[in-house]
């Protein structure tokens, strides 16, 4: 389709405005992270630090147990991603291939669970986990993350399963392969990239999660990165800006890397789930 030059110029102006709106807070975070205290205190802040320094990063690690918190986050997010995908893949397969009442109920739950206000879940969950002695433990948090990431995992995986033609499975069955063999040697390899994308997405959501971690983890040694980050903001909301920015930037890196690698797959998965449900 041909577009007139004036319209095209307007489109580029709009695109530029969007780029600035999307990028400027992040660039400001970066700039603040590398600024020495004197420049941070100045009443006329500059976009680009005149004397960039890594001191904020060192100070951030000294002020809060960042490494330990990152390890906690990593354990909870990895555990959640692996377990979620292990239990979600078979269920997603059933939801995609069979129209049983159970599969329909599961699809309904996927939609409805998006609408839960977590406060209604968290209080009973708190009591249940307390009874199971899983309160203030990473294992308990990981369990919660598994269930919490299941709706999205199912959503994505159902889309990926539907993208695998059922005819391939039928062909294998005609060839005399049993049900299990068909699943393992025909379906699973075709699903593998989708499963990996789902796992990484579950990892990122768990890595970023805050509310459950805030409520369920009390002792500082157990807390995850997002919770520890809020400790940089003092009780009165006064923060040491440099270390705060440095720590916040570091906490974002893993998810940014995952998203950069997987951008296309994740959006495709979400779209596949959305369009076909």
């Amino acid at each position: 389709m041909r577009t007139r030059p004036a319209a095209r110029a307007g489109q580029y102006a709009a695109l530029l405005a969007y780029l600035i709106f999307l990028a400027f807070p992040f660039l400001w975070l970066l700039s603040t992270a590398f600024k020495p205290p004197r420049e941070l205190g100045s009443l006329h802040p500059t976009w680009i630090p005149r004397h960039p320094t890594l001191a904020n990063f060192r100070q951030a690690f000294e002020e809060q147990p960042l490494l330990h918190a990152a390890l906690n986050s990593l354990l909870a997010a990895l555990g959640a991603a692996v377990v979620a995908v292990l239990v979600a893949t078979p269920m997603a397969y059933v939801m995609a291939r069979h129209r049983t009442r159970l599969a329909r109920a599961a699809s309904g739950w996927v939609v409805v669970s998006q609408a839960f206000p977590f406060v209604l879940i968290i209080i009973p969950l708190f009591l249940v986990l307390k009874r199971l002695r899983l309160i203030d433990s990473l294992a308990g948090l990981t369990l919660v993350y598994v269930v919490w990431s299941l709706p999205f995992a199912l959503w994505m995986l159902v889309g990926y399963v539907r993208a695998v033609p059922a005819e391939l499975e039928e062909a294998a069955a005609v060839d005399g392969a049993g049900r299990v063999r068909t699943l393992v040697s025909v379906t699973a390899p075709l699903l593998a990239p989708g499963i990996a994308a789902t796992a990484l997405f579950a990892f990122v959501t768990a890595w970023n999660e805050f509310f459950f971690a805030l409520v369920l983890l009390k002792s500082p040694g157990n807390q995850t990165l997002p919770v520890v980050l809020t400790h940089f903001i003092g009780a009165e909301g006064v923060a040491d800006l440099g270390p705060l920015a440095a720590a916040a930037f570091l906490a974002t890196l893993p998810s940014l890397v995952v998203f950069a690698l997987l951008q296309r797959r994740i959006t495709q998965g979400l779209i596949a789930g959305a369009v076909k449900s």
Binding site: Q114, P117, F118, L120, V128, L244, A245, L256, F259
Partner: protein, 312 residues
């Protein structure tokens, strides 16, 4: 793998048939479903029902006397709790105030990204950034932007000669608009991706036919793009309204509900009630009221979506 017998059902014409109707009595299905079903029932459906039960009790944290059934007393109290209704009102203002601009901006961006523009890849990459960031980091980042002295917002205003700026997040009048801007920014990517997916499902030929017929951009949007986009737009708007109404981390980090409760969303209110004051039963009742409101939003939008389907 070669297929020795080419069954007629695998012909391309019939490739799109509905899924098989086995299952039901098929025991293998249960083995595939149980690993996910058990945690869902124990840690999601169970607690949800338990939460509804709790809202009819006087459950408190760390109390020694047993919890008693008190009927609808919590809900009666809630009815007269002006602070809760104020927070409810703030929650609605926030949900609509974030969702509407977010939708319009995301629609604009999606329409741009659907065009053949040069910097499209950069915009796509950038649109992912807010999505990948932990909400806590988004909150921290915008605190740096809004910082009264060292923040870039006030500095830009000073440079433009628009006054000396202010402390946006602590001002009674500015706090809610300031957090709404952050909410719009943080949720734009998901909305954009969803709308872009919807756009890419609209048939190109229709666009071209409309253009040949001499339809202007606005008419093409109204007659071709929007009808195709409507179902996606309605679903994402319903979800955004609900997600925003339920949001917590962003505002917790930005203002903790302050100043003077001006940004105290219902989730923040219920969180304080439950985990600061230990009023589990009362907070559960708040959760129930929120679920009721959310169900109404869902019902309205589902009805709208079904109606749209009949028109098409």
């Amino acid at each position: 793998m070669t297929t020795p017998v080419r069954s007629p059902v695998t012909s391309p014409v019939e490739a799109r048939r509905p899924p098989r109707r086995t299952g039901g009595r098929d025991h293998a299905v249960w083995f595939l479903v149980l690993p996910a079903l058990i945690p869902i029932l124990v840690l999601s459906v169970g607690p949800l029902l338990y939460g509804i039960l709790l809202s009819f009790t006087d459950a408190q944290s760390g109390r020694t006397s047993p919890t008693r059934w008190i009927g609808a007393l919590n809900f009666q109290d809630l009815l007269h709790d002006t602070l809760f209704w104020e927070s409810f009102r703030i929650g609605l203002v926030w949900a609509v105030g974030v969702t509407v601009p977010q939708f319009l901006l995301a629609l604009g961006l999606a329409l741009l990204l659907d065009q053949d523009l040069r910097l499209r890849w950069l915009a796509r990459a950038l649109a992912i950034v807010p999505w990948a960031m932990p909400e806590v980091v988004v909150g921290i980042m915008w605190r740096l932007v809004y910082n009264p002295d060292a923040g870039i917002l006030n500095e830009t205003l000073r440079d433009l000669g628009l006054g000396d700026g202010r402390d946006w997040l602590s001002g009674l009048a500015t706090a809610l608009p300031a957090v709404i801007v952050v909410g719009v920014w943080a949720g734009m990517p998901q909305t954009t991706v969803a709308l872009l997916a919807g756009l890419q499902n609209t048939p190109r030929e229709l666009h071209e036919a409309a253009a040949v017929d001499g339809a202007g951009a606005w008419r093409r949007f109204r007659t071709v793009t929007w009808p195709a986009l409507r179902p996606v737009a309605l679903s994402i708007t319903a979800l955004n309204l609900i997600w925003n109404f339920n949001s917590f981390a962003l505002v917790y980090v930005l203002t903790s509900g302050g100043p003077g409760g001006k940004t105290r969303l219902p989730m923040l209110f219920a969180y304080e009630e439950a985990f600061r004051y230990g009023q589990f039963g009362y907070a559960a009742a708040m959760g129930c009221v929120m679920v009721a409101v959310i169900s109404i939003v869902l019902a309205v939008f589902l009805a709208g979506r079904l109606k749209g389907g009949e028109d098409a």
